[in-house]
Amino acid sequence: MQKNTYLGLGLVIAVLWVLPFVLPNSYYMDLAIRMSINAIIVIGLNLLIGFAGQISLGHAGFLGIGAYASAVLPTHFGFHPLLAMAAGAAATAVIASVVAKPIFKLKGNYLAMATLGLGIIINIALRNEAQWTGGPDGMAVPAFALFGFELNSDKQWYWVVAALLVISVWASLNLIDSPFGRALRALHGSEVASQVVGVNIVRYKVSIFVLSAVFASLMGSITAHYIGFVTPNFADFFHSIELVTMVVVGGMASVFGSIIGAVLLTALPQALATFEGWETVVFGSVLMLCMIFLPKGLVPTLAAKFGKGD
């Protein structure tokens, strides 16, 4: 890791450390928690989209699997929440790796369509299996308890999520700057060049797809426990789009950009609440302007401008 990345990681830790002491009320605390959760999902998704150059328009589906695993398994089968979370992640890993092999024979638009379809299928399954999932109405999620200690206050959740975010940032930065990460970036830069130096490109695409899906699944579980209720909207197509937008706005192939993208786009709908009905229009305009003037995303553009890369 270079000096700048250490600096960035330090900054993330410092901000997360100070935040709970300066946030005025529980509304902002809640917002900070949801920003951090999204940031972790987006970091995972950015490994796939920004670094490996692949696309997924179905990631909310994996988030849904995690969320519903944490809702259904403890409620109907008496699973411990931690075990349910692990089972959700395992199911996600299996589904993702089974579909990834045929999917990654595709490229560009076709890959986007295939992943989009996958997300929609998961969403429909969650909606229709009403006897387990509560159907479109959703279902309550039992509290998350570990060693007899129950996570219930915003403060507790904040520290858990903040710690997970720091770990995700650190691990992702490590990954990018490793033989595995270089192979990922190389297949993005030139598939044929990476192949002739020995990179098994299908294996790498599948691995990173599964890894980012598991990221989403785990955070789906966390979200479910935190909110205490799940609905099929977790796995909604528009949620997938929202996640991809966070990657793009924050900056492709930038871990810190992922955080910025997640923070901005989680805050934006809140800030737009006063526009009553015109939120979507403003939201769309912000995205369009971003695409036109900052096609590389916020963080890489600013970093290039001030001569500091991450």
Partner: protein, 253 residues
């Protein structure tokens, strides 16, 4: 036994017979050139041997092992390296990282160790960084060790590709027009570099249009025309072959 044996190799794209029944052997440690007019099938031949295309028919043996139809990454495992006529540099990575990717198969590619900053993996990676810098010096890119690849010129990137291929520690390296588009000074530098590669014991297979360079470097030459083998031999044999002269200068010359 030759290092590389190609027998009756053919590939058809629809009705186009890009390479037809081409056979030749390459001995270890030599510089072997493939020449021929544009569209003769030289790059296609490279793509066939390095696994980018699958042949329609024919055999390719590396050290006696049949390798036709194997994927490029499987061939990389067997010590086959190549560069590209149209550059294939990863512009999203630094120059040094491009070279480091070349060492992919020699490293610990474990995902979890990488994410956890495993000490042995880091040590190996740091050592590789030094090694990649040495390779860049070897190909004459001393001043580009800290450069971004998208800020480098064409001629320089050509040599970066060679450095990346060398990072594989290959047994045989296929250079597809390493001097194309270079100015005379750069061509001389490539000429010297290819000589250095050959002297270091790597078998070099070269596609090149610069005849001075080809005649200067090659131990043997294969001449292709319209996807077929026209002739094969030493520089002197090829130079005086009437078919070759006809192919290059026109049939009635």
């Amino acid at each position: 036994m030759s290092l590389l044996e190609v027998k009756d190799l053919s590939i058809h794209f629809g009705g186009v017979k890009a390479v037809q029944n081409v056979s030749f052997n390459i001995d270890a440690g030599i510089v072997y050139s493939v020449i021929g007019p544009n569209g003769a099938g030289k790059t296609t031949l490279f793509n066939l041997i390095t696994g980018v295309y699958k042949p329609t028919s024919g055999e390719i043996r590396l050290d006696g092992e049949m390798i036709q139809g194997k994927s490029p990454n499987e061939l990389a495992e067997r010590g086959v390296a190549r560069t590209f006529q149209n550059l294939q540099i990863c512009m999203n990575m630094s120059a040094l990282e491009n070279v480091m990717v070349g060492a992919h198969l020699r490293l610990d590619r474990n995902l979890f160790k990488a994410a956890l900053r495993w000490p042995s993996l880091r040590r190996r990676d740091n050592a590789l960084r030094e090694e990649a810098a040495e390779l860049m010096k070897f190909v004459g890119l001393d001043q580009y060790i800290h450069a971004r690849s998208d800020a480098m010129s064409y001629g320089v990137l050509k040599r970066l590709e060679i450095a990346r291929a060398l990072a594989m520690k290959p047994r045989v390296i296929f250079l597809d027009e390493p001097a194309a588009g270079l100015n005379p000074k750069e061509t001389i530098e490539i000429d010297r570099l290819v000589r250095k590669l050959a002297d270091s014991g790597i078998t070099v297979v070269l596609v090149e249009h610069d005849m001075k360079m080809v005649m200067n470097l090659s131990d043997r030459i294969l001449v292709l025309d319209y996807g077929k083998k026209l002739t094969e031999g030493t520089c002197a044999e090829v130079r005086t072959n009437p078919d070759v002269i006809a192919a290059y200068l026109g049939a009635h010359a």
